[in-house]
Structure formats: structure tokens, C-alpha cells
Symmetry: C2
Amino acid sequence: MQSDGALARELRHHYLFAALSDAQRERLLASAVGRAFAEGEQLFGHGDAAACFFLLRRGCVKLYRLSPEGDEKIMRLIRPSQTFAESVLFMEAPRYPVHGEGVEAGELIAFDRETFLGILRESFATCCAVMAQMALRIQAHWDEIETLALQNSRYRVVHYLLGLLPPGAEGRVTVTLPARKMVIAAHVAVTPETLSRTLRSLSDERLIEVAGDEVTILDVDRLRRHMH
Amino acid sequence: MQSDGALARELRHHYLFAALSDAQRERLLASAVGRAFAEGEQLFGHGDAAACFFLLRRGCVKLYRLSPEGDEKIMRLIRPSQTFAESVLFMEAPRYPVHGEGVEAGELIAFDRETFLGILRESFATCCAVMAQMALRIQAHWDEIETLALQNSRYRVVHYLLGLLPPGAEGRVTVTLPARKMVIAAHVAVTPETLSRTLRSLSDERLIEVAGDEVTILDVDRLRRHMH
DNA sequence: CGATCGCCTTGATGGTCATCAAGCTTGCCC
DNA sequence: GGGCAAGCTTGATGACCATCAAGGCGATCG
């Protein structure tokens, strides 16, 4: 990848790469590939051999799985400056465990797995960053498994809305849905119809107001309590 | 913890500790605590401050969460020689993300978090083992999330049964359920009634035979294909 | 041996949410 | 502007599974 000053600076402030020396960052960038992608463009398929992990710079990517019937469940929606597919770093036979596809055109960096593993060997601090990252991911998974197993669709939608809030938000707050409603629905594991109905019933109860992809939470605390 | 030759040998063959030097293993064991527990005994609660991670030597432990209504979802069933709660190693403010409770009386080792982190710093190979372990766990989570989101209860039960098989099993195989059926039900996120009915209907279709906690899969391939 | 207690099974009922099928709104292009 | 397509909404219906309730079965204990 061409040396790009802006990118190098970006990496220096990314928690995953912050602990690297300039030489290591150089080495990593030399083995990395930049790539633009379009909306709807497939980045990799579930089961494809994996030689890279990624950093999203612009746009939006969905990681998802398909049921045999073709139903889609979005596992993660990636936003700029997030990394994804790190776990292929540590697989014996690295294969992507999900499909990856652009939801909104953008640009990403593909880092070479082997190169990064070599760097990890030299940087315990970066090892720690990776492990901390994976630990966070595991936490998030448990939350999601709990939500899917124990809660109904209304709860999942409310939970999702609350998850969009900036930390510490209170009172009346407006959030923007990060993607089309169909995409959100596939993320919270309901049909678009059910999502629509749930938002309507929350509106009817004067808990939220919906205008396109802008959702206003009228009272954060009240919504938190209203989960059941 | 008292030096215990058998335990030291056990650790040497455990993938997570295999790469340690004798001195490191000594150090780790010196900071570890053995603990026996009874069926139904609480080991730690969701949200408790966490200073240890664990290796199960005998018995069975469930990691679970509770909904506000008291419904239980078992996230993992731990069996001897498995480690658990490793992810607390890397949290800033370490707290157990689930409840832990004995399902079958047994014995475990609690390793000191700080000591192990110190050892990780010295052993890149062990870092790799930990990261590989976490990557596997993440994989398993994806599978579970997919199953919960996209599949019905029948599929989940079949999937669970197939997961009990030794790798490469074919034709007619008998497996033993690793816990009471109520526990299995909480694991696959159905009620005991539904589990019972599902097993019955699988029996009626001559896909399996059930006798107490022994389940005979009459034809592994046929069961795989019959998921829908 | 009969009584009791858990666990599991079986049956009847209802709620939740997916599905199917129209309409509606919005943006886009000729 | 008219026409179309895509996404969203709304309504009617039904499948799936939880719930409630009762009965069976095995283990333990006096």
C-alpha cells in the first residue's frame, strides 16, 4: 500500500495500533491494501479462506449469516474506524465465519494476517490490545445471546435504540438510525413488519417519536424502565 | 495452593498452559487456589468483582444469565479440563459477566488474574494460546447467535445433539446428555416441555431413540439433513 | 412396602411474531 | 409532471412455542 501520511496518523491513534513503533507501523502498512467498495458489494463470503483482517475508514459494512431459507441475520454493523475479522488471526485454517458486504459505499484497509502476527510477537502491549478487544467482543456476544434467548422483540428493539445513545445521555435525545430500517430489522432479528409495528406502538405510548431515520427518545429513563 | 504433582502434570498437557516453563507453572500454581463445590453451590454472581479465572477438574458448572422475570439461559456448560472466565483477564474493571453455579459437585482451580497476566508478558506462545482460545469462543458465539436468531426450536435441539457427537461420528451413535434435561433445555433456550416434545417427535420419526439421558442417533447423516 | 418429592411427559390454551397481501410514501428518471 | 421502483406501513391470518395444569415414573426414605 502506498505510504499515506494521513493514514499513518490515523493508525497511531487507533487503540489497536497505538502501541506500535513507527517501524512496525511502516511494515504493517507496506503489507496492507486499501480498497474502495460499493453499496451491496460482497467483500468476502462465509467460509472463504482468510488472509486479512480489516479496518473500515468510510462507509458501512454488515457482517451477516444466512439461513438455508435465505433469511439474513446481521451479526455486526461496522462503522468507520472499527476493525473486523480480527479473530481470523488466530485460526489454524483461517476462514471468514460470516459474509461481509457493503451497506453504504466506502473504503477499507486490509491488513495482512501473517505480517500482523509477526508484529504481535514483538509487541506485548499490542497483544494486550487485541486480547482486550476480543474480550469486549465476547462480552457483547453474551449480551446479544441473552437478549435473543430471554427477551421478546419489543425488548430487543428498545435495547437496540438505547444502545445507539451516547454514553450518559438523559432526558430527550434524538438518534439517527445507522442504516435503513430493513437492515436494523435484520440486526435485531425481527422482520421489517415487526420493527415497524414496534416503533409505532412505542410512538403511540409517547415513548419515542419517529421521523424517517431520526428517532427521538422522549425520556431515556422512562424508556429504560418500559422494557416490559 | 499446595504443590500437587498430579495437577502440575495435568497443566503441562493443557493447551493453555503447555507452553509455560516449569518455573512459570510453579509460580502460577503458587498463586492458585483449589476449591471443591457442591451441586447448586454458587461460585460467583453476575457483576461480582473478578480476580480469578478457572479450570474445572471434576464435576460440572453452568454459566448462565437470568432475565428480570427469573428465566434462566445457560451460556456455557463447563466440563472437566475446560477453563472459563478467561475474558476477565483483559477487562479494565474485571467483573464476571454471568452467574456461575455447580450443576454437579466437583472441584476447580482458581488462578490469580494478575499472576497469569505477568506470565503472559513473558510467554508469547501462551498469549497465542489464549488468543486462539478466545477466537474459538467467538466462533462458537456466532454459531449460537445464528441458531437463536434464524432457527426454530427443533433445529436448535438437533444442532445441540449433533454437537455432542465426537468428531467424525457416523451412522448409529449413542450419546449421553451431559446434564438433566431441564439444564439442557435452559441451554438451548426452550422450555423443558418443548424439549420433551421435540425429542418425542424426533423419536416418532425414527431419527433418534431416547432412554433416560442416553440418546441414540439412528443415522447421523439423516439427522443432519432432517434439520427442517 | 407405600409415601413423597423431583423430574419428566402429555394435553389444552393463548400470545407473540412471521407470513402474505395490499396500500402508501419517497426518490428518481424520462 | 407522470411513472416506476424500493422501502415502509398496515391489516388479516396462522404457526410456533410458552404457559398452565395434570398425570406418570423413578429414586429415596421411613
